[in-house]
Symmetry: C2
């Protein structure tokens, strides 16, 4: 099973690494990190991630993973990337996204008429691409699997492990990464925090929008 | 606040990226990725991560983060690395580990007489370094913070955010990465799975031990 994960400048690293850490442990998985050119891209917090294959070198995949991050806005204006997305999606059994990766998929037109999710602060933008935003951790519609913000990619990976290889394999992978979450606070969804905290993050998202808007 | 994160060949990527994704969002945080030589190292599932600074270039840090993974066994036999660990630990306010990163710290002698944790399959090895293994998600002893396996680094990061910057900042970071975990199964700790699944992973850990043992 060939799994292509798209990397790019100003990606949010955990969007990619969460599902990767699970999917790379699937029996028979071959993971390829693909992008517009080979070499190191800097994620939005400074960590460098390596692109090993160019878009033209990866024209088929069983599974596609689209992470999000500020840089996805730039890809959403790159016709070469959008054409590659549509073409590789024609070859996949599963096309998946994490966080604002679903907006990139939305720009490509592939979520039109579908239920999907994204980072909680971007549901409206997802609707602008003809998708029906759903406030769930992982949303399935046909062969599409979209996950909520950043850390939701781990849950996406485990849901895919369960779907593709069954309970025992999914359990073994979850135990191998000791995924028994215990955050010190309950603040991972918008309804769990004060209006002040939520508004602060909303304002930051809108500031990024005015820096470089999502198209459409 | 200067945060040094150690990277190396055959690291488990999520061990580093979990805390990184949280800590890079702390006000005033400067994150440096450090290792024995500059350039890309391959994590154990194939993702390349970039080392931007050599050990000799980073001689002081406010916080040290030691991730784990198979490659940590090699570092544990490298006197240059162990000397660097002891020297930089002399400068830190907080020395932290994820997964088998605590075994590396143990080899360096810095966990002797302390309560600490590690990946669930390696508690015995931690005891061999004079630490008292504790089956908790994040263990605090003095300035040392050790986290359980792989994904526990996210919880470590949030615990540090809360400790250093208080509740509102920790909540804002947790919400920004939408850390509201919802795995499809409950299998993240040894007691939640069948003996068969647990034994399979134990056997795999022991096979890695016979390939390259932890020293001591």
């Amino acid at each position: 099973m060939l799994i292509a994960i798209l990397l790019f400048e100003e990606i949010t690293a955990l969007d990619a690494v969460g599902p990767y850490e699970v999917l790379a442990r699937l029996p028979g998985a071959q993971v390829r990190f693909v992008g517009t050119s080979r070499g190191v891209v800097k994620s939005d917090g400074g960590l460098g991630l390596s692109i090993d294959h160019t878009l033209s070198e990866v024209t088929q995949a069983d599974m596609l993973v689209l992470p999000g991050g500020f840089g996805a806005r730039r890809l959403a204006r790159d016709e070469q990337v959008l054409a590659w997305l549509r073409a590789i999606d024609d070859t996949t059994s599963l096309t998946t996204t994490v966080c604002t990766g679903s907006l990139l998929l939305g720009v490509s037109g592939l979520l039109r008429g579908r239920r999907a999710t994204t980072h909680w602060a971007y549901h409206e933008q997802l609707a602008a691409y003809g998708a029906t935003p759903v406030a769930e951790r992982v949303v399935c519609d046909g062969k599409y699997r979209t996950a909520a913000g950043v850390s939701a990619g781990i849950d996406l990976g485990l849901a895919l492990a369960l779907e593709l290889h069954g309970r025992e394999t999914a359990e073994a992978i979850q135990l191998s990464i000791e995924y028994d979450p215990a955050p010190p606070l309950q603040a991972g969804s918008p309804g769990q925090v004060s209006t002040a905290v939520r508004e602060r993050l909303h304002r930051r998202a809108r500031a990024r929008d005015s820096e470089l808007a999502w198209p459409g």
